[in-house]
């Protein structure tokens, strides 16, 4: 059968179409991930808490707001380098950044955080002030920071927060709590102890406290503005970067885990990894299985006996306990997982291929080729292999999902490669840290769905390819 016919046959069956479509989609996404993500994503990003510090922890995806009666506050990040306005004051230039924030949610933000980076000054350190302007016209200063002055023996110009930016979690910041205390006293005539405010900073800032404070503070929706001012002392002083985060209770397409990691990114990166595991393990085990099968069937004699006994033994080894055992001792690495999976998965194919080759050896065509003096290797790889190739191809596709599922299972037991995030590992973290028992479904369901989807794609392809490989199953017969 020609290649074009085979493809047409594949696309004639339901599973064939579904499998091909899914496979194409998965490979396109995987390619996109490979091109846009750093290859050391696991180590440089996923396992690096600094990257995720500004994300809300363990919140569901944004689209869940569509299903909710009361929308959860979204996550907002304001970042700027150039100031919106420069004024000259007596002390020096004042740089101002203004971040408008329309707030409609019934819940306050989960946290407020500010990050300052790249401060340069010639002589005297600048002062940074942040205020929140509320829809009711009231303004409250929530942050005041004097950049560290020159150290003894240090000469200007001075550089601050260049390598490690200054990050302050305002909701837990003592000075902010004091400022809020003063704000409530001045504007609402409420005298509160700081212990009464702690933990409710965001609620007060984005709400209307009233006299009986014990009740829930009514939220105050409307247009807010975050005003960041840097009072610099000289013309050339700079504040290089300002970042203000209004923590949401929903995040991104897939939500976050308990470390604030963007699950969408982890899940995306898991796709090429899963495909790699599936395809590589399948390729290796099929190659070994086919080669040994052909050799066993065609060469016969002692080689046959040795290979058959070997595959009999390996086929009967209880794999999972041994796999867990070896991985645990040798240490988790993705390549080790693949190697061990391959080492135990070739015998089934060898036994099948052998019986196919045995039939073929008695074939007149093969006999004729042999009598023409073709070498054994030539007969095996030029004449026998092409005939069983379609079958081998189907087995190749069929072997991929089991490798993917096996890796997921091992990862779920905590034996995954820690430097490469996989779906199984995301599930494992969700399960081990108890995410499942508090109902963080967005952390538990999607990785499993992706595993199933990928495995199913290969299953469908294999089902679709079966009639192509096995003409007896072809339609119309």
């Amino acid at each position: 059968m020609r290649r074009g016919d085979a493809l047409r046959e594949l696309l004639r069956s339901g599973p064939g179409i579904a499998g091909t479509t899914l496979a194409v989609a998965l490979f396109v996404v995987a390619l996109y991930v490979l091109l846009t993500f750093p290859l050391d994503f696991g180590e440089s990003q996923w396992s690096n808490p600094v990257v995720w510090v500004d994300n809300p922890k363990a919140v569901p995806p944004v689209w869940t707001n569509a299903l909710r009666r009361q929308p959860q506050p979204p996550h907002r990040v304001f970042e700027a380098t150039e100031p919106d306005m420069i004024q000259m004051a007596r002390s020096g230039p004042v740089h101002t950044w203004r971040f408008p924030l329309t707030y409609a949610a019934s819940r306050p933000p989960t946290f407020l955080a500010v990050t300052l980076a790249d401060v340069n000054y010639a002589e005297r350190p600048p002062l940074v002030l942040i205020s929140l302007k509320r829809p009711d016209g009231k303004q409250v200063r929530i942050f005041r920071h004097a950049v560290r002055g020159p150290r003894e023996g240090e000469n200007g110009p001075f550089q601050r927060y260049a390598k490690t930016p200054l990050r302050v979690q305002l909701s837990a910041n003592e000075a902010t709590v004091t400022a809020v205390q003063k704000f409530v006293a001045d504007e609402f005539d409420l005298r509160l102890k700081s212990a009464q405010i702690g933990g409710r900073v965001d609620r007060i800032l984005f709400g209307l406290p009233d006299a009986n404070f014990a009740d829930d503070i009514a939220p105050l929706p409307g247009d807010y503005e975050i005003i960041v001012q840097a009072a610099l002392r000289a013309e050339d002083d700079t504040l290089g970067k300002v970042r203000f985060v209004v923590g949401g209770a929903v995040f991104g397409w897939m939500g976050t885990d308990s470390l604030g990691r963007d699950l969408a990114q982890g899940l995306l990166f898991g796709l090429p990894v899963a495909l790699l595991i599936g395809i590589f393990a399948a390729l290796m085990s099929t190659a070994i299985g086919t080669t040994l099968g052909i050799a066993s069937g065609y060469l016969g004699g002692r080689a046959d006996i040795v290979i058959q006994r070997m595959s009999d033994i390996v086929a009967n080894i209880p794999v999972l306990p041994l796999l867990i055992f070896m991985l645990f001792i040798i240490g988790p690495s993705l390549w080790m997982i693949i190697v061990i999976l391959v080492a135990f998965s070739w015998p089934g194919l060898t036994i099948q291929i052998r019986s196919m080759v045995l039939h073929m050896r008695a074939n007149q065509l093969i006999e004729a080729i042999q009598s023409l003096g073709a070498s054994r290797r030539r007969v095996m790889f030029r004449h026998i292999l092409p005939q069983i190739m379609p079958y081998v191809l189907a087995q190749l596709i069929f072997a991929a999902p089991s490798a993917i599922l096996a890796e997921a299972g091992l990862s779920f037991l905590g034996l995954g490669d820690p430097s490469i995030p996989t779906w199984g590992q995301i599930l494992e973290t969700g399960f081990r840290t108890g995410g499942i028992y508090v109902g963080y479904w967005w952390w538990i369901v999607p990785p499993g769905l992706f595993i199933v989807l990928t495995a199913l794609t290969f299953m469908l392809l294999a089902l679709g390819i079966e009639p192509v490989v096995n003409p007896r199953l072809r339609r119309g017969q």
């Binding site: 033994i313 080894i317 209880p318 779920f412 037991l413 499942i436 199933v452």
Partner: protein
Amino acid sequence: MSLFRPLLLRALTMIGVFFVVLLLLVLTLGLTGFSNRILSATIGEQLRAERTALAETIRDPEEMEKVLEKRREELEIFYGLRTPWYYRLPRTVLRVLTLDLGEARTLRSFDGSNRVFDIVMERVPNSMLLLTTSLIITATIGIVAGTYLATQQGSWLDRFVSGFAAVSFAIPTWWIGILLILILSIQLRILPSGGMYSTPPPMQPLPRFFDLVQHALLPVITLTLVSIGPSMYSIRTITLNIAQEDHVNIARAKGLPESRVRLRHILRVAAPPIVTGLMFGLAGSLSGSILVETVFNWQGMGRLYYDALAGTPDENVIVALTFIFTLMYVVIRIVLEALYVFLDPRVRYTD
């Protein structure tokens, strides 16, 4: 002779399996230095304990070091750390082969025994409760539905079951378990999410039994849900293949009632492969399911194996368990092969 030659060959293969597993075990433990590390840790622990005890009597630090050094030498000889692993580990394996499973270092049975044998005997019934139950359910439904489906070839129900079976192969069982926990025990709060008994466990036998059943429900449902599709599908296919054979056509042509044809002429022939499949499942249920037992925190064999590896690695338990898993598998395989020869007369004539 024709009867025993294939049997003998199978038995030899199984013994081969057994030795390959043990060899891999010894090589992995030895070559990676894992075994030595475990032993050094044990000795270090013991020395630390002795140092605090000796500190009462020996004041001089130099004297102390000398005594401890001597003690370390003794311990290293006692534990066999001085002999290389390729002498020491085979000896452990030989001991295990005589069914002396040894003692666990940290793991204990529920009544406090540290003999691996006691621990294992306690866990096997727990595993069986989950896996054997689910196997019985799966097999019953599989046989009834599978033979029925074989008569409905090509119907929407038949196609649905085939699709369901294909999907089942692509679903990790443990993930279904997690999903069921999420839905049934976290969201709807119908069933407990894990463990074998409530805390505190009920003391009366009857409430205790119902408590256990309640806890076993979710894992059993999980296991059944994932294996029911493939079970129905494979029994359907076996039956279907036999239904197309000539003797069935002849039976029908003789005018035998359909029920009789199905029972006597199809099912009778289909029985051996189905029974073997069942026996295999039964053998598997003794060793538990590592993943499902982990998900449901079920104190079975699989969980035991995981605990022996994950917490403080326990060489004795690891070797003993791998040995038991393989032994059970191999013995049951040999028994099955023998049984099969008697169940299915055709095997006797084909080599």
